[in-house]
Amino acid sequence: MHELALSRSIKNIVTKAAGGRKVVEIWLDVGSLRQVIPQTLTHCWAIVAQPTELAGSQLRINEIPAAVHCYVCGQDAQVDVFSLYRCPNCDSDRVAVIAGEEFAITHIEVEA
């Protein structure tokens, strides 16, 4: 339940980026390793945005699955969050996480 804290960070970043313009949508990349529940984040966002000039803006969350690169078979593969560190193709444990840790605001949509 740190989505409330995260919403406050989002508010600060978006307020600065918007430069006073009316924000309609906020697009996020959220990796599945980030322990963020999209519905909870959306709910918290509504609460945090409500008393501000960002009231009514919508979070758009692009969920990115976790993936690993295997140093043994050379392949990249999507993995379950709970079976990290194991290549689903060759069962090697010589893998590196290459996706799933994203947590960034990519862009916002403002009224022209």
């Binding site: 740190h2 960070s9 970043i13 697009w27 322990q35 690169h69 990290l84 194991r86 444990d93």
Partner: protein
């Protein structure tokens, strides 16, 4: 702006990265662009909307504050450890034993994160050189974790020049504290044998971020079905590099090994 191109007509494209298998740490690469099949180029997708690229990590503000904390600690020559665990793991008792073991050898400060009370801080006062209590329930919105700005607040109440070691006792929780760099140099966690063998697999994000795991309450092993080998195998699966110290804060077993890790 990295892989973004802005054209004369104002449209923006991002390019897919094409090197398979390279290692990404997106939160540290603010100019790293992603390709979104469902996002693409929105210029003109809805009249009256304009796209502004942001590409800013949501943890950037916290990480910036964490960096400042680390700089302040470094300047004073203080080594800091972020200590995390679930509630009831015996973290505070381990801290008491730690302070007893280091008495007269190291000047230890404690940052105590507690949602509402001063109970833990009261146990530690008198043993530690300095204690800074952060009630996360008051003024910080009842947070379930410590973040870098909170720890910055706690550091201002400490005389860092008079400390050698700072132990930051995080809020008891296996989820949220893992996400926030507080500015410590190393991360430790306490996992007690009463919590079961499966915890590394259930909370992989926490277990994979730490440098050491203290497996506490081993004095209870004769009364439990806890399978130490299975726990260690599960831990190695998510964090092959973590040091492991089997301990009992109650009997004192393993405490010397833990203290050695702390001052090492």
């Amino acid at each position: 702006m990295g892989r973004f191109h802005r054209h004369d007509d104002g449209t923006v494209h991002s390019h897919e990265h094409d090197e398979p298998g390279h290692h990404h740490h997106h939160e540290h690469e603010p100019d790293h662009a992603h390709h979104h099949d469902d996002v693409g180029d929105h210029s003109g997708y809805q009249t009256g909307l304009e796209r502004i690229e942001v590409l800013e990590a949501i943890f950037a503000e916290n990480d910036h504050a964490a960096l400042h904390n680390r700089e302040a600690l470094d300047a004073a020559g203080v080594a800091a450890v972020n200590l995390m665990s679930s509630p009831g793991s015996g973290k505070t008792t381990l801290l008491v034993r730690t302070l007893e073991a280091l008495a007269g050898k190291k000047r230890v400060g404690i940052v105590e994160g507690d949602i509402e009370t001063a109970l833990d801080a009261d146990k530690l006062r008198g043993l530690a050189a300095q204690v800074s209590l952060l009630n996360t329930g008051a003024g910080f919105g009842g947070e379930c974790h410590l973040d870098a700005p909170m720890v910055a607040h706690a550091l201002r109440k400490l005389r860092l020049d008079e400390l050698d070691l700072l132990l930051i006792e995080n809020v008891g929780n296996l989820v949220c504290p893992a996400e926030f760099d507080v500015g410590a140099h190393r991360r430790a966690m306490v996992a007690s044998v009463t919590e079961g063998e499966d915890k590394p697999l259930k909370y992989p994000v926490m277990f994979r971020t730490v440098d050491v795991v203290v497996v506490n309450k081993i004095d209870l092993l004769p009364y439990l079905d806890f399978d130490m080998e299975l726990f260690l195998a599960n831990l190695r699966q998510v964090n092959p590099g973590a040091a492991v110290i089997q301990a009992s804060a109650k009997t004192g077993a393993g405490v010397q090994e833990w203290v050695k890790w702390l001052v090492g």
